[in-house]
Amino acid sequence: MSKKQIKTTVNGVEHEILVDSTWTLLETLRDQLKLTGTKEGCSNGNCGACTVMVDGKSSCSCLVLAPEVNGREVTTVEGLADHGHLTPVQDAFVDNSGLQCGFCTPGFMIATTALLNDNPHPTENEIRLKLAGNLCRCTGYDKIVRSVQDAADRLSKA
């Protein structure tokens, strides 16, 4: 088993850490950096519970090896709110009840933030298509879609 020294910026904080070659980014975030907001669901890229941004692009952290993020910037759900002030995306999910058990929510926060960065005014079809990589077993998705639409409205007025 070999270790790699990597330097990575997670939520704006630079970390110089020793990671095992075989660890996933998900394992490093949760077990090493104790950022447990990112969840493990299927661990094979289907459910999106582990979605984080790597250099601004949404990615399944279960399918990224930890040493791959050497020199990259990672954003997890913990990195969205600014000193306890929720982002418009987070506020919209709260106000529209876009969650029930909450397990999928960190992934939806990142996926929605990335979606609205790329496309500030998505149609309902685009929202459903672009968030298809995030599974929710509670809400039936309608409230999530409404939350995303509301988040888009809030961001465009901001």
């Binding site: 088993m1 070999s2 790699k4 070659s21 075989t22 996933t24 661990s43 094979n44 890229g45 289907n46 999106g48 979605t51 692009k57 949404s58 990615s59 399944c60 279960c62 399918l63 990224v64 090896l65 040493p67 791959e68 050497n70 996926a111 990335a114 979606l115 459903r128 298509l129 672009k130 298809a132 990589g133 995030n134």
Partner: protein, 287 residues
């Protein structure tokens, strides 16, 4: 997960040197197939060589002669780039069908090829656009027409120490259109039960097809071309009747299995329907 070492070389030559070493050395691009296969012990590795720090493998470029796609370029980048330049509609469409957005941001089109799944969505599009796989190894490289790249499910003709370097697609003529469609039981995030890519070049003064390329996914151990259908369509004046006949002939190139995703009979019927639809879309795009 097997115990493997990880290296991220910054030059092609050092990557090739690492891959030529003894042992099971596995190239990594997006990793969306490889990492899952390693985790579930479906593939082994002593060394994983990350290709994403090698500039020429991350390059996507086009000029009058055609399109060059480095093997580590992500599906998202291929989609955005080809949507911008136009001319490769089937590839633009299929690169947006590989898993979710989060997968497309990481997965490379080159990896989709090297993973060699018969159901891979980008492969029929590349086949109809006559992609040539340029490989690299410590002893040189090869230029392999993509149709000759596949040896079976999950198997390519790449040898130890040899990697896919880039895909080169010739520029299509102005009177050319292409389209890719797959069938899945839901709207997104699924593996093709069957897929068809079609490309036609049509003489606008006569409506005679001067080039036809039809490629099929998920209906054979490797992606296949529907040669008999292509030969029939070339030299034929294109209309609804010609499209019907071509679609019937394409079914003959499908040798599917029955599995959890669909029966052999169902897949053959899908090939007929999807061939008809993709050719109809091509015709609409030419109008």
């Amino acid at each position: 997960m097997p115990n493997f070492d990880y290296e991220a070389p910054t030059s092609l030559s050092s990557a090739l040197e690492l891959l030529a070493r003894p042992g099971e050395n596995r190239p990594l691009a997006g990793g969306t197939d490889v990492i899952d296969q390693l985790k579930s012990n479906r593939r082994n590795a002593d060394l994983v060589v990350d290709l994403k720090r090698i500039p020429e493998l991350l390059n996507i470029d086009s000029d009058d002669s055609g399109l060059t796609v480095g093997s580590a370029v992500s599906c998202t980048e291929v989609h955005n780039f080809t949507a911008e330049i136009g001319g490769f509609a089937a590839l633009t469409e299929s690169s947006e069908l590989v898993g979710s957005v989060h997968i497309q941001n990481r997965a490379s089109v080159g990896g989709n090829i090297c993973n060699a799944a018969p159901s891979a969505d980008t492969i029929p599009s590349l086949l109809i656009h006559e992609a040539v796989a340029h490989t690299a190894s410590a002893s040189g490289g090869r230029e392999i027409p993509l149709i000759d790249f596949f040896a079976g499910p999950g198997q390519t003709v790449l040898e130890k120490g040899e990697i896919l370097k880039e895909l080169v697609l010739p520029a299509p003529s102005a009177n050319t259109a292409s389209a890719y469609l797959r069938f899945i039981p839901r709207n997104e995030m699924d593996i093709a039960v069957a897929g068809v890519g079609s490309l036609i070049e049509v003489d606008p003064s006569t409506n005679v097809v001067t080039k036809a390329r039809i490629a099929l996914a998920s209906v054979a151990p490797t992606p296949v071309r529907a040669y008999v259908a292509e030969e029939f369509l070339e030299g034929t004046k294109i209309d609804a009747d010609a499209i019907e006949k071509t679609a019937d002939l394409a079914v003959g190139s499908a040798v599917p299995i029955t599995d959890v995703r669909g029966s052999a009979e169902y897949r053959k019927e899908l090939i007929r329907v999807l061939t008809k639809r993709t050719l109809t879309i091509c015709l609409e795009r030419l109008a």
